[in-house]
């Protein structure tokens, strides 16, 4: 459809919106910009920029070489175009690849942190002091590429748990970083992973030593802050033999007119009998009602169950971004290992999401479970894309996949692209898919019981997403439920 046609349609439609459609026309509630002087690289990308970033991060020579190798490879790669998403070509020379909030001296404690930054966190409901005092959650907060505060470090250090920014890990724990970095997502893996490897600015590093059960949820709040800054996070989590960790990642971003590129890489490594649970609530700015602005979220997330009996579980609640391109995956290499993927993806207005998972069964008796819930509203497009691969030697592999789509209104789309490749006869692979609409009947039934349409939609959505929400840690689940309601909220007449 041509843009002109669509706008005409829109004028006509405004008055005819049914309650469900009015319902979903909510505004982004976290749109504000913190004014902090940024220490930026000039726009554009070349080897000098990469040297600049590496120097800024005070990185050793091997790290710079690693980045340059990724960059040179990236130059020869083509941007992928197979996803069910559409966007204007990205001008990679028009992006600022490094921006750090200016701080004259490195903070020794939370009290030394720029009050403006602190207020940003407070607006988001993340007061570090509160977190520190009350919740038992250690927060490694990332604003525009530099970690500004890390709490609970001492308690974790006693157990030998390392939880720090990636830059710090490169300086303080180079042997661990060298051993595991890019072993799950090679620098040459895909276009965006190569770009990330070349220019990543910061991220989190977690190492859980043998036999340690991490006593608290580890959490990082990301926030994209300076204008025109692509944010390239790099996260690496290693769970050594017999250890356990639950990691939370939550995001909100300020309102912005120009599209912002976000290309993160997350790598998880689980050794023998280890378990990693990785939960994400993603609420980046999705663009306005007409599809202007918003974040491009092109992320590579992958875990490897390297050891026997290991387990990796991804849970994601995706409500934000203009475009989401993301497939948290698990390579089931160790015998008896388990991979899980639980996802709720909400798209509204002009948002586009192409998300799903890959479960690669290599070891014997490996199991995987996929539960994907897509919610589409407005004129958005929501695609599930999943691969279940069972290799020749992976005897007795089991997979169960469930992909459900819920439509609000009749101008949005839901698509399911399941790929199944089985090379071993003993595999059992099941796939179920449903598509449903929020019906006027459901809304009326709630209305008749005194429940207004907005609340009714929230009830129905949360019911639909319940199986995934149940996977989230308690406090996070409450936040995520609110987020679902907010994402689809609007003034109901």
């Amino acid at each position: 459809m041509k843009t002109g046609d669509f706008q005409q349609d829109k004028v006509v439609m405004e008055d005819e919106l049914d309650p469900i459609e009015r319902q979903v026309q909510g505004d982004y509630k976290y749109g504000f910009v913190t004014e902090i002087e940024a220490d930026e690289a000039p726009k554009g990308l070349n080897e000098n920029i990469i040297r600049f970033i590496s120097a800024k991060k005070e990185e050793p020579e091997w790290m710079l070489e690693w980045r340059l190798k990724a960059y040179r490879h990236w130059l020869n790669m083509k941007e992928p175009n197979w996803a069910n998403i559409r966007y204007e070509p990205i001008n990679y020379q028009d992006i600022i690849y490094y921006s750090a909030p200016k701080q004259k001296v490195k903070p020794k404690s939370l009290d030394e942190i720029d009050p403006e930054l602190r207020r940003t966190f407070e607006k988001l409901g993340i007061s570090l002091e509160e977190q520190k005092r009350l919740s038992g959650v250690a927060v490694d907060a990332v604003i525009d590429s530099v970690s500004i505060g890390t709490t609970f470090k001492d308690q974790l250090a006693e157990l030998g748990v390392i939880f720090c920014s990636m830059s710090e890990a490169i300086r303080e724990h180079p042997e661990l970083v060298k051993k595991y970095l890019s072993t799950v997502v090679p620098v040459t893996d895909n276009y965006f992973a190569a770009l990330n490897s070349a220019v990543f600015s910061d991220g989190s590093f977690v190492y859980i030593p043998k036999g340690v059960r991490c006593p608290m949820e580890l959490s990082t709040y990301f926030r994209i802050n300076a204008e025109n800054t692509g944010q390239f996070e790099r996260t690496l989590i290693v769970a050594d033999e017999g250890s356990y960790v639950s990691y939370l990642e939550g995001c909100t971003a300020p309102m912005r007119d120009e599209n912002q590129l976000h290309a993160a890489v997350v790598e998880l490594v689980a050794l023998d009998n280890a378990e990693i649970k990785y939960s994400t609530v993603q609420n980046w700015y999705p663009g306005d009602k007409d599809g202007q602005g918003g974040i491009y979220n092109f992320v590579t997330k992958r875990g490897i169950c390297r050891g026997v009996n290991s387990k990796i579980s991804w849970t994601q609640v995706e409500t934000g971004s203009a475009i989401t391109w993301k497939y948290p995956s698990v390579i089931l290499k160790g015998d008896n290992s388990t991979g899980e993927f639980y996802s709720v993806a909400v798209t509204n207005n002009h948002q586009q999401a192409d998300t799903g998972t890959k479960m690669i069964h290599l070891g014997k008796n490996t199991r995987s479970r996929i539960v994907s819930k897509g919610i589409s509203a407005g004129v958005s497009n929501n695609s599930y894309r999943g691969l279940v691969h069972v290799s020749r030697n992976a005897s007795n592999a089991r997979n169960f996949s469930q992909c459900d789509s819920l439509l609000l209104g009749d101008k949005c789309g839901a698509h399911t692209f399941p790929y199944i490749e089985v090379k071993n006869n003993s595999a059992v692979v099941e796939h179920e898919a449903t598509t449903s609409k929020i019906g006027e009947d459901q809304i009326f039934y709630c209305n008749q019981r005194g429940i207004d349409t907005e609340t009714a939609v929230a009830l129905i959505i949360n019911g639909f997403a319940k199986e995934v929400m149940n996977q989230l840690p308690m406090e996070f689940a409450v936040e995520a439920q609110k987020l679902l309601a907010i994402s689809l909220e609007g003034s109901v007449g």
Binding site: N447, Q448, D452
Partner: protein, 254 residues
């Protein structure tokens, strides 16, 4: 309590109710009977405020307010309850959570404080005992996988929890066996008092053996053509709706 005057209503271009009059006072039970297509369910839908039903003429006053101006949820807040002929399923939403939301939204409408978890649980336990309903039903997703009887019992349980002034029961007996009818009817009878009223919409007389009405009205061709005491229902059962049709047609010709 409810005063319907000269109500004309329909769906899209189709006229279904053509000048309906009805007065219901507190403490009364009225039954509306009639052949298929006479407008029984349309009346229930119009009173509850279902979308797509258009009122072209007439008025409906409920407890002194113009009912037709109110949104469906405001009508519920004012004390109007509809037990659905086909209760709707919502996956993943527990029946308890649904009812709790409804109770508190209605309290909010009336300017009352919401019930906290403890108060709500206490109220629910009381009504469960009264309605003879099982906890396990309430922990399940709303109406999902419920049998026909369970769905209707759940409707009456919601009625008990919401304590409406006027309950409209739309074909509550349809699809139920005689035991299920008895259970549902017992529930309704327990909720009757001098301050509330019930409007039964039914095709068959059998429900009226268990919920005994004060008045029976026959709806035919969009109008109430005959009203009488409960014995009228028995007469209809015996003679069928044809005698009413004949009477009406004869009167029109005369």
């Amino acid at each position: 309590m409810l005063s319907i005057r000269n109500l004309h209503a329909g769906i899209e271009e189709k006229k279904i109710l053509k000048g309906l009059n009805l007065e219901i006072n507190a403490g009364e039970v009225h039954a509306i009977m009639g052949p298929n297509g006479s407008g029984k369910s349309t009346l229930a839908s119009v009173l509850a405020g279902r979308e797509h039903y258009e009122v072209s003429e007439g008025s409906v006053e409920f407890l002194g307010k113009n009912l037709l101006e109110l949104s469906p949820e405001a009508r519920a807040g004012e004390g109007l309850f509809l037990a659905f002929q086909y209760p709707i399923e919502i996956a993943g939403l527990t029946t308890t959570n649904f009812i709790k939301t409804a109770v508190n939204e209605i309290r909010k409408y009336r300017g009352e404080q919401p019930l906290d978890a403890v108060q709500f649980l206490k109220m629910m336990k009381e009504k469960m005992a009264l309605m003879n309903i099982d906890q396990s039903l309430l922990s399940r997703s709303l109406n999902e996988g419920f049998s026909g009887g369970e769905k209707k019992r759940n409707e009456i349980f919601q009625m008990a929890m919401l304590q409406p002034k006027l309950a409209i029961l739309d074909e509550t007996d349809s699809g139920l066996d005689i035991d299920a009818i008895r259970i549902v009817a017992n529930g309704v009878n327990k909720l009757r008092n001098k301050d509330n009223a019930v409007l039964l919409v039914t095709h068959y007389q059998r429900l009226l053996d268990y919920i005994v009405p004060d008045f029976v009205h026959v709806l035919y061709n969009g109008q109430i053509v005959k009203s009488g005491p409960k014995e009228l229902a028995l007469e209809l059962e015996e003679r069928g709706y044809d005698f009413i049709k004949n009477e009406v047609n004869a009167a029109q010709e005369a």
